[in-house]
Structure formats: C-alpha cells, structure tokens
C-alpha cells in the first residue's frame, strides 16, 4: 500500500457504508436476515416430536383395547385425531396427510393378550423419514411397555439400557443449531455481498472510474471488503447475544477465541467473494456462481447434516470447506467449552484456507484490472 493508503481505504469504506445505509430497506434486510434465521433454527428445528396425529382403527372394541389407546393418548406423544372401524378410512387419512400414524387393533386382541400373544399393527407415513423414525421408536416403546405392564411386572426386561447424552443432556437440538447460524450468516454477508458489490461496479461501469482514482487494486478491494466484514462481525455479536440471552444456549468457552476465529473465517468469506467477482461480469452471474458455491458449502459443513454420516470421499472434500472447520470451532466453544488445545487443527485449517483463497482471488483481481 502506498503512502496515504489507509486514508484512501477509509474514504472508500465510508462511501460504501453511505451507499448501503442510504437505502433504509437494505438496512432492514441486513438486520432481519439474522433474526429470521435465528427464529427458525431456534424454534422450528426440533427432534422432540410430540402430538403426532394418530388414527385409531379399533376392530376389537373391548376395554383392553381402549386401555391400550389411552396409554398412547396419555403419553403426550400422540394425539388421536380420528377413530374408525373401517381400515379404508385409515388409508384415506394417510393419503391426505391427515394422520401420520395409524394404530390398528385387530379383532380378538383381548383374547390374544390374555394368552400373551397379542399384536398391534402400526402404520406410519414414511414421506418424512426423520419424523417416521422417531415416531415409530416412540410407538414401539409404548406398545412394549404396555405389554410388560399388562403382564404385571412379573417379566421385567432382563437387560435395561441406561442412556446418557453428553454435552446436551436434554437432547435439545436448539443448542446445536443456533450457534451454527453465525457461520452461515457470516458467509452470506461476506461472500455473497462482497461479490455482488464488486461486480456491480463493473456492471454499471463505475469500476473504471475507481481504477483511475489514486486507489491501488489492493486498497480498492480492502475498501469494498471491510464494510461487509464489519457487518459480519456485527451479525456475530447479534446472534451470540440473542442465542445466550433469549434461547439460553450455553456459552461455555471463550468469547475472545470466538472473535479471533471469526476473523480467520472472514478471510475465507472475503476471498471467495472476491474470487467470484473476478470470474463473473454481471450481478446475475455473480449471484448464481456464489449460490453454486454457497449451497454445497452449507450442505457439506455439518450444519444440518452430520459430516460423520457422509461417505468417506465427501468427508475428505469437506476438509476444504472453511465453514465445516468454523462450525466445529463455534460448537466447540459454545457447547463443550473447549479452547485452542482441542481446536487448533481447525484454526490452522481456517488460516490456510483463508490466506490461500484470498491470495488466489487477489492475484486474479490484480491481473484482471491491471
């Protein structure tokens, strides 16, 4: 950077901020985006599936059969929405999506039960395989438990499984998802908006004006990138505060480390944004190109789908994904309270990826405008 560089960068940063802030809608969008994602991931994503719509076909009609259905209802996991004596009605309800689970008690259930050989049929709508797995697990446990209760406890299960969940005893998915929103937001802001902002100058022809100004390419890039980096850090603060104060997500680790690793992660985001801006000419192209990178990065990061259940090839590929490393850091700091001794590999990976991406992008940029 030549003499007076910092001042020139400062002027450009101010110009960018003014341009962004002049549009009140842009201000609102930049604030709403994190809030909406937080609400969704704080409230909408849950594996605790209660009140499953249940359809009962009771072909037996005995008190014993009613007793079984009552156990389902009182568990809190199942809401009986309809009853019928015709199996055809159950088919219709599943087809229409009115019920997720069908419980069919066949004729002669009470007699079979007294002989200890009763069967209950469970039909579950598998279109949402996640929900179906959990619902079926609950339902089978209820049937099994009821069977033991009916037998009078004389046959306690010979082996009992005692389970304990570490780091998250209530198995609350909110704690896992909310901190990860930080990573996704920083990526959107730094990567996508940087790319669009630079390509915009090219598209409307003001890039040449900037080039003939005394700004060097490096200063130009810094001036463009710094506002979005600051917005990204602002989003980080907003998400962390809301996560801890509103959603009561534990924050076990060091805030300073989180800030430091976010800076490292910003490098990758800005590098990618700059890179996309050098391979595209219009904002539409830039938008599509950043989406093409953005989507796989999110899907292969462990944000919603665990990295551990990917095939080996994709686990290897995901090592080149800065978001994957950043999410491991964020979750480690929030939930496990671990620090650099446990997370240094992720930090090294982030640093390498960030510097590498930024260097390639800066080189390409220099070549294009030079």
């Amino acid at each position: 950077m030549t003499k007076g560089g910092p001042r020139r960068v400062g002027v450009l940063v101010r110009k960018e901020f003014l341009q962004l802030a002049r549009d009140p809608r842009m201000r609102r969008v930049l604030f709403l985006l994190p809030v909406i994602q937080l609400i969704v991931f704080g409230y909408a994503v849950s594996t605790d599936i209660r009140h499953t719509e249940t359809f009962v076909v009771d072909l037996d009609g005995t008190p014993e059969a009613r007793r079984l259905i009552e156990v389902f209802e009182s568990s809190g996991y199942f809401d009986v929405v309809e009853r019928s004596r015709r199996p055809g009605d159950l088919v219709r309800a599943l087809d229409h999506g009115d019920a997720v689970l069908g419980v069919v008690v066949s004729a002669g259930y009470a007699d079979d039960l007294s002989r200890h050989e009763a069967t209950v049929q469970l039909l579950v709508d598998g279109t949402n395989s996640n929900v179906a797995t959990v619902v079926l697990g609950y339902a089978e446990r209820i049937v099994h438990g009821h069977g033991i209760a009916v037998a009078g406890g004389g046959i306690a299960p010979p082996i009992e499984l005692r389970d304990r969940a570490w780091f998250n005893p209530d198995l609350d998915s909110r704690d896992y998802n909310v901190p990860a929103v930080v990573g996704v937001l920083i990526l959107v802001v730094c990567f996508m908006l940087t790319a669009l902002a630079i390509v915009r100058e090219r598209e409307i022809g003001t890039l040449e004006q900037l080039m003939v100004s005394p700004l060097s390419p490096l200063e130009l890039v810094m001036g463009k990138a710094i506002p979005f980096a600051l917005i990204g850090l602002f989003d980080l603060a907003v998400v962390t505060v809301i996560a801890v104060l509103w959603f009561r997500v534990p924050f076990a680790g060091s805030p300073l480390l989180l800030f430091g690793s976010s800076l490292l992660f910003l490098l990758s985001g800005l590098g990618l944004g700059l890179f996309v801006s050098t391979i595209t000419r219009t904002q539409q192209e830039a938008f599509m190109a950043s989406y093409l990178l953005f989507f796989p990065m999110i899907l292969l990061s462990g944000f919603m789908f665990p990295v551990s259940s990917m095939p080996a090839v994709f686990r290897w590929i995901s090592l080149a994904n800065p978001l994957r490393h950043f999410l491991e850091i964020v979750r480690g700091i929030f939930l496990k309270g671990v620090g650099l001794p446990e997370l240094w590999t992720q930090h090294v990976a982030l640093a390498i990826l960030g510097v590498g991406l930024l260097a390639v992008a800066a080189w390409r940029f220099e070549k294009r405008v030079g």
Partner: protein, 371 residues
C-alpha cells in the same frame, strides 16, 4: 394484449439470457449439483455409528450382547476403552459418537434374574443424530433381551408391535429430499433469478427505454417471466428424471399432473420475483429480499427438511403463508403416495391462486414504478 409483442419481449429476455451463457449454464448446473450432493453425500440415514466399547464384565453374556450390537449393522466398533478418562477424551474429541459400558456384574445379575444394566453414553451435541442412535440402541437391547432364556425359559413379550412404513418403505431420506428439492429449486430459479431482471433494467437505465416502447404492462411482465418459466420447467423435468432413474426415488403418480401444477407454482414464484424486483430497484437488495421472502421460507418453513408439526404454534401459523408448503404436499403426494387430483384438489386450486396472485402483483408493481 398482443401475443406478438409478448413474444418479442420474451425473445429479448431469452436472447439476453443466452448471451449470458454462464448464467444459463448455472441455472442448469445448480439442480444437478444439489441432486448429486443430496443423492450421494448427505443423508439423515444414520449407519455405522462410531462406537467405543468398555466391557468391564468380559463374560459370555456381555460378549453376546455386544455381538448383537455389531450384527445390527448400525454400529461400527472402532475402539475399546478401559478407563473413564479415555471415555471423556474420545467424546470430547468427537472420535466416537457412542460409548457402550457393560458393568462388571452384568452376567451375574442376568443369571440371578435381576435386571442387568448396560450403559449407553451418546454425544448429544447433535440432538437429531443422538435421538436416532439411542433409538437404535434401545431396539437392539430390546430384541436381544427378548431372545434370552432366563431360568431355562424363553421370554416372550405378551404384546408385540407389527410396524409397517408406507410410501417410503425403507425410510430413506433421499425419498423425502428429492420431491422437496423440486420446490426449492423452483423458488430459486423462479423467484430469485427473476428478481434480478427488472432491477437490472433500472440499474442500467434501460427501464425508460422499455417504458417508451408500445407494450402493455401485462405483456412486459409475461414476456419477462416466460423464459424463466421455461428454464424452471426444464429443471423440474431434469430433477424428476435423475431422481427416478439414478437415485431410484419412486414416482407413483401422474407426471402430467406434476407438470401442470409445477407450471402454476413457477408462474406464481416468478411473478413474486418480478414484484420484488420492481420494488427493490437494485440487484443487491433484490437478491436479499427474495432470499428472505421466497427461498428461506421454502427451505425452512415448508416442511422440506423440518417437520411443521414439531414447530411451535405461532410458527405453524406462519407456514400457512408459505406457498412452497402446499407445493410440497403436491410433489410428495405425486412422487411417493401416488395420489391424484381427488386428493390434491385443494392444493391444486391454491397453486392456480398463487399464479394469479403472483402475476397480478407483478403487473401492479410495474405500473407504480413506471408511472
């Protein structure tokens, strides 16, 4: 309205798009890339849970139980441990997801007819995975203990569940994802790409030129939409064909019904995109607004990945405003359930209403902006 003028606008937009060959290539590459990732890389189907074993009993009984875990196919034993410090370390560093601990008196308890205990310690940081891992473990223990002979007598539970899964018999997440992907891709292509078109005319200053030409608003809007609807329909066809033939996703309903309803949904989404575009006037703002209004709700609040029934009530009410929610009922219904118009009548009418609303909004916003 003149069809000739409408087609002229459509031709101009299509020419502009095809000149921008990279954008066009990306519009087709995107669904294929997403399909490949969803088809090959990620799933919620949890197999080969990395498990560590701490067998403190080392008896025949404990080995049989652990064999049952191994034979289930869900657990892959990666290591054995012999101290609680090791357990801590393995879970802290996320080397294993599950630690099975068999206490020293396991065989003795079992032989004496007391309830023998086996401990499962699961990494709960990903609650979704942990819930499923624990339900597998519970099923293994339950099944193993049913087969045990206690005091010379085989135990038989008085009541058993005969469970069947419909529509997605193997409970594979790809069968749930591919039909949902159709809706999300259409929102991206339909609404997000179109949201850039009119903002672009404003930014480049060509809007006045367009306004000065002898075309009506409806002609401009429909002409602008048409090329994107064509791209979107092609994407639907590509996703469906690849999903069915490469990933073996069942397709049990009528392709024609899917095409018709997709067309209406796409028209509505594209109309919404033009509306946002006209309101935003800048491409940067337009992308962010359309992301918030169309793509995020379609991804998160439509029931695509997260079930609506588990959301809190206020959020459930919000999902009724998300058009993708209804379209998802259509795609899953046609792909997996094989249902037709008789079941999807309400959703079909909503798609038509969405299309009319989208185009009307677009035309309306357009007048305000030019006038």
């Amino acid at each position: 309205m003149s069809l000739r003028r409408l087609l002229a606008i459509a031709r101009k937009e299509a020419l502009q798009l095809s000149r921008d060959s990279r954008s066009l290539a990306l519009a087709f590459a995107m669904p294929l890339l997403l399909l490949a990732i969803f088809g090959y890389a990620i799933s919620w189907d949890i197999r080969d849970v990395r498990t560590a074993v701490w067998d403190q009993d080392l008896s025949t009984d404990s080995r049989e139980l652990l064999d049952a875990f191994r034979a289930s196919g869900y657990f892959s034993f990666v290591t054995t441990v012999s101290s609680s410090a090791q357990v801590h370390d393995l879970l802290d560093r996320a080397v294993v997801q599950l630690v099975l601990v068999v206490p020293p008196d396991f065989a003795e308890d079992l032989g004496a007819g007391r309830s023998a205990v086996v401990q499962a310690l699961v990494d709960g940081s990903d609650a979704n995975t942990a819930t499923i891992v624990l339900s597998y473990a519970r099923a293994v223990v339950q099944e193993h203990s049913t087969g045990l002979r206690v005091a010379g007598e085989t135990l038989r539970p008085p009541l058993t569940a005969d469970s069947r899964v419909w529509y997605n018999e193997e409970l594979e997440s790809k069968n749930m994802i591919v039909p949902g992907l159709v809706a999300v891709i259409m929102m991206i292509i339909g609404a997000m790409l179109t949201s850039l078109t009119i903002a672009r005319e404003w930014e480049r200053g060509t809007m006045e030129q367009l306004a000065a030409t002898p075309v009506t608003r409806l002609e401009v809007v429909l002409g602008k939409l048409l090329p994107y609807v064509v791209i979107g329909m092609t994407d639907v066809a590509v996703i469906s064909l690849v999903g069915v033939f490469l990933f073996d996703v069942p397709f049990r309903g009528s392709p024609i019904l899917l095409a018709i309803l997709s067309f209406f949904f796409l028209l509505g989404a594209a109309g919404l995109g033009v509306f946002i575009s006209a309101a935003a006037r800048s491409q940067l703002l337009a992308t962010q607004m359309s992301m918030m209004a169309t793509y995020l709700p379609a991804l998160l609040l439509s029931g695509f990945m997260f079930a609506i029934s588990v959301m809190p009530k206020p959020l459930q009410l919000v999902t009724y405003l998300v058009p993708a929610r209804y379209f998802l009922v259509v795609t899953r219904g046609i792909f997996l359930k094989g249902v037709g118009v008789e079941v999807l009548r309400a959703e079909g009418l909503l798609m038509v209403a969405f299309a009319i609303a989208g185009v009307t909004l677009a035309v309306h916003a357009f007048r305000k902006e030019i006038g």
